[in-house]
Subunit: 103 residues, 2 copies
């Protein structure tokens, strides 16, 4: 019988950079592009693609504004994203700390 938690891993969240983005946004209210880039240690391009994929799934909301003359991009997690992340974490936790019950 398949182990149910494995199928419950969310492919949108599972990739390393997207997992890191969701973990940070679940912990803080709002994070800027620069903050995420530095914290995750990734490139502009990789982070942009990751944010676009998370926004497409409606897991985050990306806001573009200006701070004086400088463009400022900030991200927040949505209610849908928070639920999806909670489900993913629950599935991961049960996979990582698996107890096999033999027949």
């Amino acid at each position: 019988m398949p182990i149910e938690a494995i199928s419950q891993l969310d492919p949108v969240i599972h990739s390393k950079v997207r997992l890191a983005v969701m973990s940070i946004l679940a912990a803080v209210k709002e994070a800027s592009f620069i903050y995420l880039k530095t914290a995750i240690g990734t490139t502009d391009g990789n982070l942009s693609v990751s944010l676009a994929k998370l926004e497409e799934a409606e897991y985050i909301k990306v806001n573009k504004s200006f701070q004086g003359k400088k463009p400022l991009t900030t991200c927040v997690v949505t209610a849908k994203g928070r639920s999806a992340f909670a489900r993913h974490v629950k599935a991961l936790d049960s996979i990582l700390h698996m107890e096999i019950i033999e027949d």
Copy 2:
């Protein structure tokens, strides 16, 4: 400053099927190819590629034998694989349950 745990995720282990294989082998002494395939809910091809990659990294040992006339493939985790999995789980746990300390 980059969050250290993110760079400590092991790319060999992070993919969904390989993570599932390592989690199962960390929980049981030995598992057959058929058992892994059923538990993970994956295909022969996908599982074969995943096992080959884990074996190449010396994280598992794949044994091929016969049970009567039927070929039997079994897998065990190595000491190196067990350490790598423990490090990966530790890194994931600290990412998933991140607490951001603001400056």
